[in-house]
Assembly symmetry: C2
Homo-oligomer: 439 residues x 2
């Protein structure tokens, strides 16, 4: 057959079979968990003006956006991430609501990047956002909701925590512009530390370089002393830094007390340019995937980039593709969560029988939450063979005699046992069969 129609474009996937079941499971559990934690749904658009993302999503993302013009000449983009849309939607639709506002979404995003293990050009994110609360509790609330979710789906994970307010406050104090800060953090994100330090050197005096070098290497419990040592050059920035240290410590402590492994990483900055304070990543305890399965942080004042008044906000996104990859690689995890057992019932409706009789039987089954469907044929063996090959355990046969007597024939595909029964007894019989088979 013609290959040109066989595959989706490079980096784009068809999610089929057991994978599709897994994705639906991951999305359903995400929604359920988010709701239990008081988050409300929002469905942002897939297409936005590209300027929305260009304003603040960071260099990496800008370069990899799918950008195109519509027929009226608007420059649009497929969303490379969702937070920018959430902030735009907050400003236009939620501004009058009682804060804090707690929102969740599930959305596919698009980035034109080189495909690799767990990275696709169309990928799925589940996200949580809280707008309008400065307290570190909101960061803890989104994080623990995500952890609750990961626990529910049996995805063992730990936290890597950092805080870009440390870097940004010092660089600002050193009179380095925001653009240059973005570039320095970008270098650190790419782990080109020497070049980052070199660039700081070129742009400020030596004492700030030393302080910066220490901040990106010292553990969190040494930072209070460090700030104290540099008190003189820091001036009133000491207060901000002290407060950010306390917030970071509280965050780490609560997570630890609730049983989550948490590591402080002074070089963590994450790719997104809009973060302003605490940030963190989720790592799976997995052999296949060492990279992050999600992350988030503070992005206070992102509202001002879009012309709104200043607002506190914090949020995170989990990468559902990477989580799927982790779960799939742990051989028994998937089978544990997705009952591969086929609970379907097949109704074989013979051609000489009125179809509506069979559909009435089906209706009763479905009403009783029994998965079932009808195959019509004049050839019972063909129907049985389909049931057999689809691993369906129980078949109902409806022919002329069954119709006339208001009965059905029920056949156990494993034992071969078969009997003709009154329709009134059907549900009880099926439930007994399903219980015996799967318990």
């Amino acid at each position: 057959m013609s290959k040109e129609f066989l595959n989706p474009p490079r980096g784009i996937r068809d999610i089929v079979g057991l994978d599709a079941e897994l994705y639906e499971y991951l999305m359903n559990e995400f929604r359920k968990t988010a709701r239990f934690h008081g988050f409300k749904p929002v469905i942002p658009p897939t297409i936005e003006y590209s300027r929305l993302f260009e304003a603040k999503s960071g260099e990496e993302i800008k370069k990899s956006m799918y950008v195109f013009k519509d027929k009226a000449g608007r420059t649009l983009a497929l969303r490379p991430e969702v937070t920018a849309s959430i902030i735009r939607i907050y400003l236009s639709k939620y501004k009058g609501e009682v804060k804090p506002i707690r929102l969740y979404y599930i959305a596919q995003c698009f980035r034109y990047e080189e495909p690799q293990l767990g990275r696709y050009r169309e990928f799925w994110q589940g996200g949580l956002e809280i707008i309008g609360d400065r307290d570190i509790n909101s960061d803890i609330s989104v994080s623990l909701t995500a952890s609750d979710y990961l626990d529910r789906i049996n995805c063992k994970h730990y936290y890597v925590v950092g805080n870009v307010a440390f870097h940004r406050t010092i660089l600002s104090r050193a009179n380095i512009s925001i653009d240059k800060q973005d570039y320095i953090l970008h270098l650190i994100d790419k782990n080109i530390i020497d070049k980052a330090i070199e660039f700081v050197k070129e742009n400020t005096s030596e004492e700030y370089v030393d302080l910066f070098r220490e901040v990106i290497s010292k553990p969190i419990d040494k930072l209070r002393d460090l700030i104290n040592d540099y008190k003189k050059i820091l001036g009133d920035s000491v207060e901000i830094l002290s407060s950010e240290i306390e917030r970071t410590v509280t965050f780490i402590d609560v997570l630890k007390q609730l049983g989550y492994n948490t590591v402080y990483e002074p070089k963590l900055v994450r790719g997104l340019a809009y973060y302003t304070g605490l940030i963190y990543e989720y790592r799976a305890e997995s052999r296949v995937l060492k990279t992050s399965i999600g992350g988030g942080g503070r992005y206070d004042n992102l509202t001002t980039v879009y012309g709104g008044s200043s607002e506190y906000s914090t949020g995170l996104a989990l990468g559902l593709d990477r989580i799927a990859l982790v779960l799939t690689s742990e051989s028994n995890t998937i089978e544990k969560i997705l009952t591969k057992q086929n609970r379907e019932i097949l109704i074989i409706s013979l051609e000489n029988t009125p179809l509506d009789y069979s559909y009435r039987v089906l209706k009763t089954l479905v009403k009783n939450n029994i998965e079932s469907w009808i195959y019509r044929t004049n050839n019972i063996s063909k129907g049985l063979s389909i049931a057999n090959r689809k691993k369906i355990g129980l078949v109902i046969i409806i022919g002329e005699r069954e119709f006339r007597e208001n009965k059905v024939t029920i056949k156990n595909m494993e034992s071969g046992e078969q009997s003709t029964i009154d329709t009134v007894n059907l549900i009880t019989m099926i439930e007994k069969f399903l219980t015996n088979r799967f318990n």
Copy 2:
């Protein structure tokens, strides 16, 4: 604030608040219903090569596609509909599976059309497809699954049924090419009947024109006689036509017997060029929306357009935006289905109390399926005011004393009653409160 960032592009929506709740409800029920009827999930990509849709989706759709080039020069399109992807995926991923194959999807689609009531440039579809079965039962199976869904969400509906095999068989017999057939059906779809007839006239002899004119105006129960009258010029096409009449009658009969209003409409052709036989639309019994809320039909042999071997297939898609519009307009429908009642519990955690204590309380609540979240403050009245304005009925207050004594204070926001209780009694108390409030 700056308007340029306020809104999504023209025709594209933010789905927020109660609308977002409604959409989630509509999607969840769709998935649930499809599963109960033995359909399995598939997640097709949002982006495809544009040629996939250009091959057979019909003129209207081709003109309104969002087409763009990626950085490697591939010509891509945002999907304007999903069936083409499903067929592609069938050919590349499901070909070896036991037929019939039953698939469902929920997907947003994109068409650059003039926005109007219930029509957006990004819109949501729920679809069902059965591949590999010629029997009319498969058409009935997808239709009744959709009807079961519409019944569950309380969307009253009826069927309009047609069959393009009637038109196509006669036009083929009259030696009119497929391209010209597409054009004629397109005119009929747009209700430009005179022009359609004129065009037929220009391309064939008078007796075929007469027959065609009759076929697009006669009720279904007159078609047998009509075919008989034209037996001589129809030759062996009589057999196909008779068989299609029987299929259409069976389809209509079964739907009627199961209680659905069904109307035969000889001029129904639907916009999509890939239909080959029975087609139908769902109309809501609604005052606001007289147009279709979904539809489907036979598209046998669409596989061959993509280079595969010939295959039977039938399917439908429901327009979730239009269904949402219908449900929203029936004032009490939405409130009936979405419990607007706020079942959330707010935990006010005072700043002098260890946060992890509050999170342990939260954990117990969520484990017991109680929606809850924590607000941390040093100001109880601020917390109570938030609860009040968010219409939260029950608040749990955790301060230093509660923490020391392993207790919580529970406050009924309606009665003002307040008491401090042991955490072991908390779940029972909350459940009692929720039962009293909402039953």
